[in-house]
């Protein structure tokens, strides 16, 4: 019996070192050698500053400026609203879009919305998101109604940091972005097409428009390459 117990603990400790230290360290070493950028989170820099990750969704909001010319705050937190110059990501379970808050989607504390299919609260969230979307987009796309809004623009993502939106959603937002930036719609649509990630191997998953990359491209100016 004593020998069995010795074997049990000894094997557990040795396996812990092998599988819990040697294995992840080896994977880390090899990954850092072969795929350094990807292993470090596909970070995107602009002018030497990290602006986000290509794989992680974030919100593109601006402070609300009050009538006195100062940024409005509620309990010391700046009130923010969608920045109309940018494409907007999907509603998020943690980012609390369209309300006060100082941070973009929380990429260090992901969470589901857990909104149930038969829940009054889910309907309320959906209705609120529809209203916000219409308020933002309808002035530039008069034909838009609740029935024509794509579901991804209203339903929260799973990860709360979904980097993509559907192409249908992007095409609607393109009207606003083109108008605000004084660009031809065709130019913005072309950028949308360029930053659309196709299905993997042509048939796996769904196409999505990478919002951060698209917005960065808009800031660089439509004429700029890559």
């Amino acid at each position: 019996m004593r020998r069995d117990i010795l074997t049990g603990f000894l094997s557990m400790i040795i396996l812990t070192i092998l599988l819990g230290f040697a294995y992840p360290m080896l994977v880390t070493g090899v990954s850092q050698g072969i795929f350094p950028g990807k292993a470090d989170g596909s970070l995107i820099k602009r002018n030497g500053v990290v602006v986000g990750s290509a794989l992680i969704g974030q919100q593109f909001y601006e402070p609300v400026i009050g009538t006195n010319g100062k940024a409005e705050t509620v309990k010391g937190v700046a009130v923010i609203q969608p920045d109309p110059r940018y494409f907007q990501t999907r509603p998020s379970g943690t980012g609390q879009p369209y309300v006060t808050g100082g941070t973009a989607d929380n990429a260090a504390g992901s969470a589901f919305s857990n909104a149930g299919p038969n829940s009054v609260a889910t309907r309320a969230d959906d209705l609120a998101n529809i209203q916000t979307y219409l308020k933002l987009e309808q002035p530039y796309d008069p034909g838009l109604s609740a029935a024509t809004i794509p579901v991804d623009a209203v339903n929260s993502s799973a990860s709360s940091v979904d980097p993509d939106i559907s192409v249908a959603n992007a095409r609607i937002q393109a009207h606003r972005v083109a108008a605000v930036r004084h660009l031809p719609l065709s130019t913005v649509d072309a950028l949308v097409a360029r930053y659309t990630t196709a299905r993997s191997l042509g048939f796996l998953g769904e196409p999505g428009v990478n919002v951060l990359e698209l917005n960065l491209a808009l800031d660089r100016g439509p004429g700029a390459n890559s």
Partner: protein, 587 residues
Amino acid sequence: MTVNGWLQILAFCALLIILSPILGRYMAKVYSGERVFLTPIFGGAERLLLRCFFVDPKREQDWKSYAKSLIIFSLAGWIVLYVVLRTASIQPWNNYAGVEFHAAPWDVTFNTVSSFLTNTNWQYYGGETTLTYLSQMLGLTVQNFVSAAVGICVAIALIRGIAGRSGKSLGNFYSDLVKTILYVLLPISFISALVLVSQGSLQNLSHYVSAHGISGLAQTIAMGPVASQEAIKMLGTNGGGFFNVNSAHPFENPNGFTNFFEMLLVLIIPASLVFTYGRMVASRRQSLAIFATMFVMFLGGVTVAYAAEAHGSPAQRAAGLVTGVRANSTGGNLEGKEQRFGIAGSAIFDVVTTVTSCGAVNSSIESYTGLGGAVPFANLSASEVIFGGVGTGLYSILLYVLLAVFIGGLMVGRTPEYLGKKIEAKEIKLVALGLLITPLTALFSTSLATASAAGRASIVATGPQGFSETFYAYLSQANNNGSAFAGYTGFIQPAAGNVGSHGVTFTDLLGGFTMLFARYAPILFALAVAGALAGKRVSPVGLGTMRTDNATFVVLLIGVIVLVGALTFFPALLLGPIVQALTGHLY
């Protein structure tokens, strides 16, 4: 539903059917002690490890001895993991999130440790806000390997019992354990981890990154050694996410390809073991019959889940959304689903991870429609035999096979035999106990949690969804699955790093004991069955022998599985998901 969605489902099934016999044959060689192509690489390491453990691999063990080694090894694993998780505050590589990480409270840790030990990987913790890198690696990654290996060992022992021609030996536990890790889990995980990194999964030990968004908002991005854990999390049908949102997180599952790849990792070992079985009992038709049984039930689940989610939810329609497929939009119930996976990629993943004991999620099951959510319920109600967890799936369905043989034998009025071995009163008692313990534990714990105020404290949803949450929690923990209607909680955490956090003691302990009991009791019964069968004499096949490798038997087997599941769970299912599926009413 779309043509493309079905194309993904068909491609997945085709690849599974092609690959599993190949890996199955390889594993049969490994466990029969034959040379394989990895023997020159790992043979030395295998002998060295066993020598370090003071184990003589040639010492054959009967079922009691095998079970004793397994239980003591698991106990040691429990203690080591508990110590690792509770010492977070003194570990290096702490403070990478900008705050000092402390250990989660004792009750949450009890739940987490029991959960990883039993291959459940139930998450009351949120990885990136609760666990240090070293806890993830030394603690969770290790149990991801080891708990999976233990499951496979039990399956192999049961196969040896059924195949055994003489004596009582089931093999040697530590030898099987080391073989599983070195020849199967470690090499596949290593390569898979690199594949995942190549697609964008993380693998570093860096500080969380502070990003300055282009419109001026700050964003903290979690880092960590993700891919190495993700690979074995899927391969070992473990399912405990590095991140709180599990495989929905882009760093765990970056695109449509990784989603497909991860699903394949989940099913490949459970499906292959069926062919390992056929080879070790020298009957390919036997494994085909079992594979067909699993496959039919799997495809049924996928079809229902995909159709239900593509249809959309009552809440969406009440809000005025139109959920049909249209140009450039997935349509359907996209609440709690990622754009890059869409409806099909989420629905298949959901079924793949709930038929097995994986429990990883790439979408929020709590947000599935009533019918779509009923599919994981049904999968769990079938006691994880539709492929099932690594090892657990095979040993559980073999118990069902014995039950079906017994029932069939009664119908034709002959002594039931399986592969020439008589199934007698002793075996069938053990089989029945082994099969019923899991559902009974699930129902008992659900009743306890529903009937007590302490249990109801964990519920967030209202109406039937509240019951669904509770029922799913204990069904999932009893089946060692680990997926969740994630609103149900046993951990209150106001801030990252666990300052001021506390567990819901009742929920954590009930869940922990549910997992431990529903894991080890069936293992002991399965090993006892193996022991009882090992010594039996094989009688020759006669004219009156009931065939167990034809379509009739497949139908009988499906019938038995469905009947046992339905009889046990139907009343409870009526109160939750079925009500939700039948009504457009909002609660």
